[in-house]
């Protein structure tokens, strides 16, 4: 704007005819309109505490998590709310406990043998075991997604049960759990019905409504898969 005004000012003396001066006035009028629009925009932005999204991005990149948390906390007034057991909640809990088998029965069904004596375990050890670490969970997710994509690129759509199966029951459950996370969030597509379920990995997160698709896995199912795998291996040999 400043440069345009200076140009007009510089050339004003050279404009002799009425026509030239009219064009000059017209240009000045247009510049004024732009300034008015800029002024309106600035007023609007300042009233809304507007910050350019790119500036926000830049700031967030350089700020530490602690500093960001500090920024939020200083403008945050959390709601006070006391949880309570409502009548409906009580009925739900009652139904749940009525249907729940005694712990001895549940442990017998799980077939985990005689339990070890209870002992303390510290966070360091839990981290080491990959139980308390979030990083480890996310790394596992990344690895599983990568594994599925690699298999898909060579084999095409992959059978759900075949993919989650592992010779250890606990690892099978672990894989099923991680996979459910990927499916729910659109990183993996699930097709088919009943026991015939197939996985199709997406290269990027697919836009979709979060899906919830419960699949039950029992030790019996896993046993059947194990014997089937053995048969396939023997036939292969």
């Amino acid at each position: 704007m400043e440069r345009s005004l200076k140009t007009l000012e510089k050339n004003l003396v050279a404009f002799k005819s009425k026509n030239e001066q009219c064009i000059d006035s017209e240009a000045l009028n247009e510049i004024t309109k732009v300034i008015i629009l800029q002024d309106n925009q600035l007023r609007f932005q300042s009233s809304k505490f507007f910050i350019d999204p790119e500036t926000i991005r830049f700031k967030f990149r350089k700020l530490s998590r602690e500093k960001l948390a500090e920024v939020f906390v200083s403008s945050w007034h959390p709601i006070l709310e006391l949880e309570q057991l409502t009548f409906r909640g009580f009925l739900n809990a009652f139904d749940y406990w009525q249907e729940l088998l005694p712990i001895s029965e549940r442990l017998r069904r799980l077939d985990i043998g005689k339990p070890n004596k209870a002992q303390d375990i510290d966070v360091k050890r839990l981290n080491k075991m990959g139980i308390a670490s979030e990083e480890e969970f996310f790394n596992k997710l990344e690895r599983l997604w990568k594994e599925l994509k690699e298999k898909y690129s060579t084999q095409g759509k992959i059978e759900y049960w075949k993919f989650i199966f592992d010779s250890k029951f606990s690892t099978t459950i672990d894989r099923a759990y991680l996979l459910s996370f990927l499916i729910t969030n659109g990183y993996v597509g699930l097709t088919g019905k009943g026991k015939d379920l197939f996985l199709i990995p997406n290269n990027e997160k697919k836009k979709q409504n979060r899906i919830s698709f419960p699949i039950s896995i029992s030790k019996k199912d896993w046993g059947q898969w194990q014997s089937l795998e053995k048969k396939v291996t023997l036939a292969g040999n």
Partner: protein
Amino acid sequence: MAKSREKSYFSGKLKKAVRLLMYRRSRIPGAKEWELKEKLGADYKKVIAQLNELLDDLGLEVKEIIEPSANHLDSGENTRFVVTLKDESSIDEAKMIGWRIDNLAGLAITISLIISKQGKAPIEEVESILAEKFGKWKAMTLLETFTRNAYVMEEESGLLTLGWRTKAEVDLKKLMKITAKV
């Protein structure tokens, strides 16, 4: 004398107001305006004002919020009263009440970005900015948590907007002011 009579007149109502406002009875905490009118009477605002005086010593206050509702024709239908922390808190206090640094930092990013985008931001964009700070998977879980707790709302068009909880709990002008300064 008149003052003490007024005090005793309100004390029963004050107790009622505390129960209505603090105990969570539905998905959204607090009490609706018509509930307060019904249980505390037409002078419920006086009761709230008196309750505010008491809560002030504890660093709390009763706040009026507009609850999202499909029916905006009924005036007062979607006005809700909640109790919030009045004073500015610190990270240590937030940790003490069970919050994690990552969640607080994630909220700062998410809310500021939505505001900077005039109230609506594509989910992918917010997720990618969060991912720069926390990694892809963590970003995903953070957004899920924020949506579940009504800090943000996911529209069918794939845009994120501010949820009722953000409007009730966060001083948006202050947040943007501080964000601009840091």
